[in-house]
Amino acid sequence: MIQLNWLLTLSGVLFAVSVAGMFINRKNLILLLMCVELLLLAVNFNFVAFSRYLDDIHGQIFVFFVLTVAAAESAIGLAILVVLFRERRSINVEDLSTLKG
């Protein structure tokens, strides 16, 4: 029988791996977007696990909406990426300093 703490630990490790990926790949915008997808997947793991073990379907419905928002987010993010590449011929994050932040 799969225990709840196994799932929570797995999701925590997955979350940490994708956070580390954001630090390591901090120049490549595409890999940053992929790491965001992995972060959302790790969070969805928690929702599904608690929904299963508390026998409450609402967690899975929330995962459904998170998936929707994540799909919309990656579609718009990639569109912005394509426009950016057309303008700058580069997707390096360090080139994006127009706002001087």
């Binding site: 029988m1 797995l10 120049k27 977007l33 929707t68 919309a72 590449f85 580069s90």
Partner: protein, 211 residues
């Protein structure tokens, strides 16, 4: 027993492919490893009887989002060598932050502070239980407004993505409505004053008509 073995196998595949994804240099390889992550997650979700979400994860992520990622990665001509330079500079602090995150989450999970017995296993559902039916019943009754909002959100995403990436083509023949509406009478019509006068008298009849 088989379920536990499968869980650990899928969990190890998931973690290994996630680690490989953040370490490989080629974005195409990273995208394919992310697909492997999604597949093993979907398998684990099947094991804990969240069947509908497992199928949706494969359909939406592997079928749509990752194909979009691969399309963009292959369409853009990215200089990988430039991007991977000085990449290891932040690997140390990244690993440190990841270690702290794991420590915090694991310590919270194992102190039982969340009010749940974390070592419990879920009771199996009966054979005629349908995860999809139960999700659908909640989704179309209690969450129907949220469901429609999600649909509108997807529509906004479609419109935004298309309008962002659409390019005006130079030699395309199309109507310019604004120019049509803004046209003035002076641009189109020219009034020419012509003196009214009797036309010149026709030539004198020669007398012999055509037969």
């Amino acid at each position: 027993m088989l379920v536990e073995i499968l869980f650990w196998v899928f969990a190890s595949i998931l973690i290994v492919s996630a680690v490989a994804m953040i370490l490989v240099h080629n974005p195409v390889h990273a995208a394919l490893l992310l697909v492997l992550c999604f597949f093993s997650s979907a398998s684990i979700w099947l094991l804990i009887e969240a069947e509908f979400l497992a199928v949706v994860l494969i359909l939406v992520y592997v079928g749509a989002v990752m194909v979009l990622f691969l399309f963009v990665v292959m369409m853009l001509d990215i200089n990988i060598e430039e991007l991977r330079a000085r990449m290891t500079r932040y690997a140390l602090i990244g690993g440190l932050v990841a270690g702290i995150v794991v420590f915090q989450i694991v310590s919270v999970v194992y102190t039982r502070a969340i009010g749940v017995d974390v070592e419990q296993g879920a009771a199996g559902k009966p054979a005629d239980y349908s995860n999809t039916a139960e999700l659908g019943q909640k989704l179309y009754t209690e969450y129907v407004y949220s469901f429609e909002l999600a649909a509108v959100l997807l529509l906004i995403a479609i419109v935004a993505a298309i309008s962002l990436t659409m390019r005006k083509r130079a030699n395309l023949k199309q109507q310019d409505i604004a120019a049509q509406v803004a046209v003035r009478r002076e641009d189109r019509v020219r009034i020419v004053k012509v003196d009214a006068e009797r036309p010149a008298a026709p030539a004198a009849p020669s007398g012999d008509k055509a037969p």
